[in-house]
Symmetry: C2
Subunit: 732 residues, 2 copies
Amino acid sequence: MKHYPIIALIAGAILLTGCEAKKASHPCLTLTQADAQQMQKSLGKYPVFDKSYAYAQAAADSAIAHGMDVPVPHDAAGGYTHEQHKNNYYAMYYAGILYQVTGEARYATFVRDMLHAYADLYPTLGMHPYKGSPVPGKLFWQTLNESVWLLHTIQAYDCVYETIEPSEREYIEANLLFPVCDFIEKGTQANYDTFNRMHNHATWANAAVGMTGYVTGNRELVDKALYGSAKDGSAGFLKQLNELFSPDGYFTEGAYYLRYAIWPFMLFAQAIEQNEPELKIFERRDGILLKAVNALLQQAYNGTIIRANDALKKTYSTQEIVCAVDIAYWAGRDAELLDIAEQQGSFVLSSAGIATARAIAEGKKKDFCFKSTLFHDGADGDKGGVAIIRRGEGNKQLMLVMKATAHGLSHGHYDKLTLSLYDNGHEILTDYGAARFLNIESKSGGRYTPENDTYAMQTVAHNTLVADQESHFKGDYNTSMQYASRICYADLNDTCSVVAAEDKNAYRDKDISMRRTIAVLQPQGTEYPMTIDIVRATSPSAHTYDLPFHYNGHLINSSFDSRRETCSLRPMAGGYGYEHLWKECEREVESENVWFTILEDDRFYSVTTALGTGKVYLTRSGANDPNMNLRSEPAVIFRKEGLSDYTFASVIEPHGLFDPNLELTKGANAPTEKVEVVYDGEDYTAVQIAIHGRELPVLFIAVNAAEEGKEEHRLSLNGKTYNWTGNYYVQQ
Amino acid sequence: MKHYPIIALIAGAILLTGCEAKKASHPCLTLTQADAQQMQKSLGKYPVFDKSYAYAQAAADSAIAHGMDVPVPHDAAGGYTHEQHKNNYYAMYYAGILYQVTGEARYATFVRDMLHAYADLYPTLGMHPYKGSPVPGKLFWQTLNESVWLLHTIQAYDCVYETIEPSEREYIEANLLFPVCDFIEKGTQANYDTFNRMHNHATWANAAVGMTGYVTGNRELVDKALYGSAKDGSAGFLKQLNELFSPDGYFTEGAYYLRYAIWPFMLFAQAIEQNEPELKIFERRDGILLKAVNALLQQAYNGTIIRANDALKKTYSTQEIVCAVDIAYWAGRDAELLDIAEQQGSFVLSSAGIATARAIAEGKKKDFCFKSTLFHDGADGDKGGVAIIRRGEGNKQLMLVMKATAHGLSHGHYDKLTLSLYDNGHEILTDYGAARFLNIESKSGGRYTPENDTYAMQTVAHNTLVADQESHFKGDYNTSMQYASRICYADLNDTCSVVAAEDKNAYRDKDISMRRTIAVLQPQGTEYPMTIDIVRATSPSAHTYDLPFHYNGHLINSSFDSRRETCSLRPMAGGYGYEHLWKECEREVESENVWFTILEDDRFYSVTTALGTGKVYLTRSGANDPNMNLRSEPAVIFRKEGLSDYTFASVIEPHGLFDPNLELTKGANAPTEKVEVVYDGEDYTAVQIAIHGRELPVLFIAVNAAEEGKEEHRLSLNGKTYNWTGNYYVQQ
């Protein structure tokens, strides 16, 4: 036994005395002996499951063949020691499973020996030499990775537990597992604070520590994991279930981080279900965990999680979503999940995975139903929400997202009432997402780059209103965390899907109220659904209002003189992200409508906006970005100056066909001929849209005040009186 | 009968008197009655063929349902009348086939009535009102489209010929078909010149006129098509077979325009084979047409034609390649073509298509063999060539292209010795291709934009040597047309594929000789093939040498200080395309090697170059491009100043893995540690490459003089003497 610091010894001793819970038979977390046997018998029966198994086997065998490498921690994310410690926990995890399925001793020996090597190393470690995290770790530069390491490692230990001599177990637990738990829970003040926060990093920490408690029979660890360090429910996993999700299953940090958080949520939940079924963990809050998995799957386009907040591009096939879907099926037997599992093409090698694979093979699958949905934010569902509107079927369907939520913790953006459009398999009106090169060491050590704060989070990087070129809440996190937008109403029926949201806080210093009403409808005679987008700003004082449209595609036509700067590019003025936009064109316009058309893949998209006298900018991200941390992406910004109130009314519409193989172009011009705000007041906003080749215009009247959806309304326009009941009137 | 101009009447009358050939039974071009019957019987048997048939049926039925619309020509490409006349020829073409297969009179009537409407209209037309082509048309803005129109229309007429009353046939032939032929052949001086050129526009014209001759029994037209207006073989289709292809089947305009030209080549060849089998058209020049189809298919990556010259992105599934592959199979029964036909997923509805579909159904398919190949350019194969080097299988394979050809007519670029790299399913080192938005009317009427000349064609838009920031031949077409590069040797074996080419003309005014030697090999212990790239410039006088690497991906690391301009961007100086490059970074470097690493998809790519003291630029296309006609694409340019001779030696290599779903990064640093030119002379260039983790460096010695491949060579380096036979020595 090597020497290790006194503190760890004491901590280990204290924890050991906490061993009062009954020792479960092993494995006891995510795999049972019975399911391992079932897995063994099933090999060759479910080809996709076999593929996952073969992957695990190859990974374990390769790790065994390469020999042990447990290096002294040195590198940041993406660097050698970081990646090696990740490789190690995967290797142990897979080898543990392989031992359970095959019974081959070499897998168990590998796990035991590596655990021993870690038990030798861990007590010798100080804090990680790479300083880059507010919550630094020992094996990794941040404690978060240490939790992830433990969550995998404890599953491996669970799998081989019964093969290890008691004295060796004691060595491993006393020198490695308990000290790691102790470090994660309270090794530093930052760790303690994290362990007891309402945040996904806490979920990881709780799950890893709690699962270690189950395996080692250490009730103290389980209680801290479930109820927080104080073991009184003031923190911990169960409180997170109440606080981090809205009643709809929306996760406060948004879909991208739900993808990550769902992993420990579901794994720990499965372990709880196996060890303490009396907690009925999957039934808590009306089945909140299963709702969360559904909400995650719904907040995606073609299997890619939507870009909102600090999102990178991630698909359903990430291991964490595979794991979540399998466990959700295991827990709830929702046959629609089998559709997703089949598309994922891999399974978690656990009781959940084998149950899911078997159910698919037995033909139990139902089509997963993607539908227009409003997800409320906030533990009580009163912190705004995300509306997702879908039209059409399959991977070419149109999907519109309006986000009007609370800030969403540290990964949130200043993006109140922002809008994104997906269509024909592509992002069209884009959310920049995160400025980060995950695990690329040369790019800020794989962490968020500085431009994540200075650009990606700022309001101008989103398709929403910017006043006076300042971000919502002036980009102040603490202020933004205090307020949420409000969903006024949503009626997502298939004929006309309408959602309205407002925000009176983002510019409270300027006393600006913002309200955005979006309607997706398909007027007779048009080929694709159009989106009517009404952005209404009111204030007692005059402001400059900017409305950016970030797009993916190539600008091919516009109503305005879009000639770009030819010989010199300068950034847009000022801060709040504007300094990151090269100003390619600045043009004063003076006509009823401005429009632009882009081409992406084989379809055109036009945005037509009632602007009157104003300015138009063409921009491209990349200014004041010396390290090329930003992608080079274009936007069009519409600007109105010196007005207290202004309502931007736009039509956003796909149209036509560009087929380079057939050399065929159809409908390159937008169906919309003219967008006109025919009435605008505190009570109503009425927008009339003339469509080429149609006599009757489309008329949409949004109610700006009442929200019950049952009130009767009346508005006279051009001598005609419109009467209706509900939040909007539409004449398609 | 409407009035039409006297000239057309006379022309028609003259042509009519030329009717001396025997009238064939109809249809007689690409479909026989027997094959139409076979097609009818086969419906329901070959699902993919059924799909093509269903497409044709839907197109014909929809056209019939919509009614006749034969507008007076007005619009440019992409505009209404342009697209309508295209729709019309497709509608007639499909309806003609449908008539042959179903025997339903309504299809024949539709074709007849539309032909009649065109016969009414055509004589009333002057030149097309949109002026944008040096060879303007009447129905379309350029005569080329008129030829394409006729080529489809004559097939439709052929299909319904026997259903039309003789007097009606006479009306159609006298007022439409013969006048169109006459106009195409000699309606203007430009048309006459085109008809008798060695160029793909002539192929279209010849094919359309010749096929009209067969159908109408007008031998005069056939003879002009085959032998030129003078009917003496000084021009025409047969001469094109001799002059436009190299003995390998390489087409002088490159693969992208071969894709387009192959359509009339193969269709007319099939018509010739049907009508004059004694010409043995498919056996000419040792089967040059079948070789051409093979060369076209080989010059593609994952089914997308390589970007060289004025190329846009086009795939195997274009109708012209479908047609060419089917006819090639029909003519030569090469079972490998069935593999491509199956991937295309559609068939031409002709004798060729049904033969191909049947053969696939009968299981005759063999895998198409993509292989490393050198295609010589020039009618005699002595005008340089294109080398394609492949490694690995399937759609992730690596493919390297070196282009060292003649200019290639009007769509050629000033790109001597340029290199492109494809890997892992993506373009990595890119050729800009064409600056054009095909059929997008708002973009220069769908034609090439001005930036095609000023940027896309210029040398700096390619991955090849630029001297003194001037393009090859100073961008002068007539000069460039006089010279070709020279392939020195090529040895494309799978262990080490080497190709060397030189050009002594591109900078003849500067007396610069350029030689590029490329070797693709996979040293022991590396994961992917590396490319050794030696660019050797020699001159009696001092010059500035630039070597650009245009890339697709995101720059993530570099050996040099790559901090970009933050507050002001200016174009690179001067012309020759440099004015279109924003200068994002200009850096003096002084170290043995410079390198940069990019990330594209899930793989890294590094270029490591022995530069010594020099400059490095980061650029992005889009400067001096007011109309946003260029894509925004990045490049790295290495520069050496004030030297008469310089040899750029680089290693280009894929490496590592970036898996965002697994959050896994491996091998983000290039395997290559150092690239060193250890010897450089008129006789040899020796490059030594140190590889991380390997003791023995890779040594590659290129012979710069001898070319027979049999000579014995000797070179002493660092006290060791290397003896070898052949054009290169390699120690992997």
